[in-house]
């Protein structure tokens, strides 16, 4: 089975080599990153290992967005409120200094203790949170600051008020703004990349994922409840969904995996932040100097290409 993984990655490598124009000037950096990851590949993850990574991604000692922002940025001034209804604390945003330049950061924020978890709504944003994110994105565009987003949410909040305030529309609108930005965007899945709530802030030029993070269309519990009709089958659902970083890389959904300290990010916040900063710096370096309209075009092409299907020639499509 490891051989199959290897073939898939090698296919991606050769695709990258043959399509340099689609990936920009710094293609060689991308190639060597993939090559390194290919070298590190071992046997594929089995059900137990995928479930272990689900638990690590949700570990209560895992660094959250603000833990990273505090460690990798020299300064951080938070913005508050969506200028319409409220300030949603499940999502933080602001101006920060990263490696000597100003950037805009956006992240979902979970809480460490019961009080903070409640205040942060377990990292599940309302539409107000996504509208605050959109404010931050507009700020980035207006002043030409690169945008860094940190994804860590079980999902957008599933409540009555959230629906009444337009949860679906807010998630769509946030993505639509990201599709229009002409500044570089790097998104990192640092914990749980839970469905629509995650992609709302992850339509980026480069999408990175920490080694033990998850990125999934539905939570394993939700999937198990629907398809297995039993939420306790979550480990089976997780194995079927393959939400782990390596599968996401193979499927071309993410551009790179960010290493964590041995044992997981929660064992050493400092080391984990250093590894993340290094990856962000490289990704921003890759995007530096690309004109805004090209960035935007390539960003859209990046997502346009994702999908696996076959196509048979139909009578109308075939030459007659």
């Amino acid at each position: 089975m490891a051989a199959e993984d290897e073939i898939r990655l090698r296919e991606r490598l050769s695709k990258l080599r043959s399509l340099p124009l689609l990936r920009g000037a710094r293609i060689s950096g991308e190639l060597s990153k993939l090559q390194r990851q290919l070298d590190r590949i071992g046997a594929p993850l089995d059900e137990d290992e995928i479930w272990r990574s689900v638990k690590l991604a949700r570990h209560e000692e895992r660094p959250y967005a603000l833990d990273y922002i505090d460690r990798i940025c020299d300064d951080f001034v938070e913005i508050h409120g969506d200028r319409a209804r409220a300030d949603d604390l499940a999502l933080v945003a602001g101006l920060a200094r990263f490696e000597g330049r100003t950037v805009i950061v956006i992240g979902q924020q979970k809480g460490r203790d019961i009080a903070e978890r409640t205040r942060r709504n377990f990292g599940m944003a309302y539409p107000e949170g996504y509208r605050k994110a959109m404010r931050a994105m507009t700020l980035a565009e207006r002043h030409g600051f690169p945008l860094l987003t940190f994804v860590d949410t079980p999902g957008a909040y599933p409540g009555v008020a959230a629906e009444q305030h337009g949860q679906g529309g807010a998630i769509a609108a946030s993505q639509a703004i990201m599709a229009r930005l002409s500044v570089p965007i790097v998104s990192t899945i640092i914990g749980e990349g839970g469905s629509g709530g995650a992609i709302a802030i992850a339509l980026a030029d480069r999408v990175l994922m920490q080694e033990n993070a998850l990125y999934s269309v539905i939570s394993p519990e939700g999937c198990a409840a629907i398809l297995w009709r039993d939420a306790n089958e979550a480990p089976k659902a997780a194995a079927a969904l393959r939400p782990d970083a390596r599968h996401c890389l193979e499927l071309g959904v993410i551009d790179g995996i960010v290493e964590e300290p041995p044992g997981g990010a929660h064992t050493d916040h400092e080391a984990s932040a250093r590894l993340l900063a290094r990856a962000l710096s490289a990704a921003l370096g890759d995007l530096e100097g690309i004109p805004g309209d090209q960035l935007r075009r390539r960003r859209r092409e990046r997502f346009r290409r994702i999908g696996v299907f076959t196509e048979a020639l139909t009578p109308s499509a075939a030459p007659s």
């Binding site: 409540g159 599709a179 339509l203 969904l241 499927l251 999908g307 196509e311 020639l313």
Partner: protein
């Protein structure tokens, strides 16, 4: 009047639930009236008694909206590839094959060029009958191609949604169809072409949170459930008391998320007016 009397006669001959316990497809879930297929088709599958909107399959919907003989299907050869070898209680490939047999469609969306009320447009119409109208790689690709086709031909896109959301069986690739379709709409808008969205029952989760809500005009059919999270999950997760009209088109309209609620019998005329107004530079 004659029709109403017919209906009440049928009502007295209640066929009872089918073997699987569900009410028969042509029994109105809201007033209990029973109809023959041809009766319902005459009223575009709207209950003549109470106005309940029955689901409409993609091809029938195109027949209702597009000018006769104007529709040419595109990308009908696209099929899912089961990229994850997904297997829950049954393999994904089996579910796909079953859906294809039941609906006669390759996936949950039909796209193509056509005209409505004499105005050329591109159509992208979803079918809830195909795996709950779920969006995987094929639906995302078809929608993106519909946007491209509309931009190339310089015509508006009319999309009719009916979907439970992203398709679980294609995992993260299904989630990626959200940004993919959002980018496609951005390209369409950059080309200066409008998108008119008609949301049918139900339009939820991943489809609501991507292209469906990005229309230049967004309307819905009466009684359609339009929610990011459906009532059952909201109730289970939050234990909140749900309002009676939770997530319905009427509630969405009241909260400012829709431009209009348009009954199906008026939909073609409404879309025609909108296309005419967008056309009039």
């Amino acid at each position: 009047m004659a029709e109403r009397i017919d209906v009440s006669i049928e009502h007295r001959h209640d066929p009872g639930p089918e073997a699987n316990g569900k009410p028969p497809a042509n029994t109105c879930p809201s007033c209990g009236s029973h109809y023959r297929d041809d009766e319902l088709d005459r009223t575009l599958r709207v209950c003549p008694q109470c106005g309940h909107h029955f689901p409409v399959h993609a091809r029938a919907r195109i027949g209702q909206l597009a000018d006769e003989g104007s529709f040419t299907e595109e990308a009908s050869g696209l099929r899912s590839k089961d990229p994850l070898d997904f297997f829950d209680l049954r393999p994904y490939t089996e579910r796909i094959a079953e859906a294809e047999l039941a609906t006669g469609l390759g996936d949950a969306m039909v796209i193509g060029s056509g005209a409505i009320g004499g105005y050329d447009c591109e159509l992208a119409v979803m079918d809830f009958g195909f795996m709950g109208g779920s969006m995987g790689s094929v639906v995302g690709e078809k929608f993106a191609r519909a946007c491209e086709s509309a931009a190339e031909r310089g015509v508006p896109l009319v999309t009719v949604t009916a979907s439970g959301g992203a398709r679980m069986q294609e995992g993260i690739l299904s989630l990626m169809q959200l940004p993919k379709t959002v980018c496609a709409v951005a390209d369409l808008h950059d080309a200066g072409r409008p998108m008119v969205t008609v949301m049918a029952h139900p339009t939820t989760a991943g489809v609501l949170a991507s292209f469906a809500t990005l229309g230049d005009m967004t309307v819905a059919e009466p009684g359609a459930l339009l929610a990011f999270t459906g009532p059952r999950v909201v109730q289970q997760t939050t234990r909140e008391k749900l309002p009676d009209d939770f997530g319905l088109a009427e509630s969405n309209y009241r909260f400012g998320h829709l431009d209009a609620i348009v009954p199906r019998l008026e939909l073609r005329a409404y879309v025609t007016r909108v296309l005419m107004l967008f056309d009039g530079r």
